[in-house]
């Protein structure tokens, strides 16, 4: 996935991707910050890229918000630590969750260096305003996160965030295919990824 943050910056008030994802996957809106569930959300540049941000950065980056989500790492530590394989990597690279197998030990939350994982501290169902009957809701006591719309990918559709973006800021494609559009974008643009020094190999790229 490539996120063109130049486009996002032109529309700071736009939350279409987040709204679409939350609705599609029945992501609850819990007001208490401690119990929040977030699949794709906005963080300031300094928080999304704590080791890239610096005091002297270009004015337009300071305090601007970046979309963050699970990076579907190539070498995911969350998968490594999970004692039940409730989170696992699909052959196509999507880091999946089996919420029926998860025992709720939260080892993956400690292992993910991107804060991409959420635990259902309380029953989330009370906080879903307009549930989408097409997608299951979760029970308390399990971990969840962005699953890259595996259900849509399998039908040949785009992830809902990419589809919802009215400005085409989110591009999704096959990194393994050298001729894919995404590889072309990556060849032509300078992109950054979050915390690459940790060796997890994030698959979400940002054009700054």
């Amino acid at each position: 996935m490539v996120i063109d943050t130049r486009i996002c910056r032109q529309h700071p008030e736009c939350n279409k991707c987040i709204e679409a994802c939350d609705h599609e996957h029945n992501v609850p809106h819990i007001p208490d910050k401690k119990h929040e569930i977030k699949w794709i959300w906005k963080e300031e540049f300094e928080n999304a890229f704590p080791d890239t941000a610096q005091e002297y950065s270009i004015e337009h980056l300071k305090g601007t918000e970046f979309l963050v989500l699970c990076n579907h790492c190539e070498n995911p530590p969350c998968v490594r630590v999970c004692p039940t394989q409730a989170t696992f990597k699909r052959p196509d690279g999507i880091v999946m969750m089996d919420m029926h197998r998860c025992i709720g030990c939260r080892f993956c939350m400690a292992a993910c260096p991107f804060g991409a994982r959420n635990f259902n501290w309380i029953n989330p169902r009370a906080y879903i305003k307009d549930p989408n009957p097409e997608y299951p809701t979760r029970m308390r006591g399990v971990v969840e996160k962005c699953i890259f719309c595996n259900e849509r990918i399998d039908q040949g559709k785009l992830p809902v965030c990419a589809e919802a973006c009215p400005y085409g800021a989110i591009v999704v494609g096959d990194l393994a295919d050298p001729n894919s559009k995404i590889n072309q974008i990556l060849r032509e643009n300078f992109t950054i990824r979050r915390k690459t020094h940790l060796g997890t190999g994030p698959s979400v790229f940002y054009i700054v």
Partner: protein
Amino acid sequence: MLEKALVGSKKYYLWLGFLGVLILVGFCCYIKQFFFGLGITGMSRSVSWGFYVAQFTYLVGIAASAVMVVLPYYLHNYKEFGKMTILGEFLAIAAVTMCILFILVDLGQVHRVMNVLLHPTPHSVMFYDMIVLSGYLMINIICGWSALHAEYKGSKPPAWVKPFVYLSIPWAFSIHTVTAFLYSGMPGRDFWLTAIMAPRFLASAFCAGPSLLLLLTFILKGFTRFDPGDKAIKTLAKIITYAFLANIFFFLCEVFTALYSHIPAHRYPLEYLFVGLHGHGKLVPWIWTSWICAAVAVVLLVPPKTRNNFGTLAVACILVILSTWIDKGMGLIVGGFVPDPLDHVMEYMPTLPEIGITIGVYAIGFLILSLLYKIAITVKEQRGLI
């Protein structure tokens, strides 16, 4: 032999009754947590492990420390520890039981815990932790029980137990090493990402565990005819002193690397603990309490005069336990989550139900310990061994 746990003095029954009440309170809190969810605790999206995991980590150390009496006795034939080994092994049984309970109360979906066995995952450290912990529990039940049974019969423990005794020694090291590996192998958690984690865990275990054992010994000495002998106590006090100093040394090594390298990610958790970070400092009084206790304990433990005086030694033991309990529990676990991966600081404090459940689990552990010690002491008394 089990019936020996059932008859005792009035004080004994009162003690058991008191533990029973605490267990009941813990159980009620747990029922509440079970139906509401872990949201009842102080844990959050940022600090996703808290008091329970802290107790678990601490108690694995207590369990492992039995080796500090078993090893000198069996490997070096240090006869003075003869009466203590069984206390050490029974303490290990109680501690591992508490560890398992603390993991269970920490799980979001506790009834699915068997998934760990149904889907064994050799790349998860948790998988190995489960193996070593349950193995250690079995080994200590076998060793402790057969030794006691032999005393009861007035015979020697059967020969087949010997290999288990020897096995228990490396096994004790393994449980705490694997527990350290739970933490020290995660990218992005810089407070834990340190090769010295396992040695530090062992050092703190080998001072905290024997300290608890010594305190228990003093209590037994006060209430029963049990007396391990002054020499055994003094040797154990020396072990505590060395292990405690090693623990402090390892910690100072950590502090040096973090502060001198000046790498923010390494500095932040320490800053958070000792002076507070971005205006958040709920743990500051905790950690200073821990280090003040440590300083006083060192002053009491190092000079032979105060170390060999059982009054000051008992105080030192209490301080060692308190200091390591804060440092390794709240300090290490919560400190590792601050700041979170997105550089936000979210603070953590255990809630009342969380503390209630914790006390309940400790009460179960002490109940097991009391029953086992009662049997051991009664058998020894009847055999004229004490």
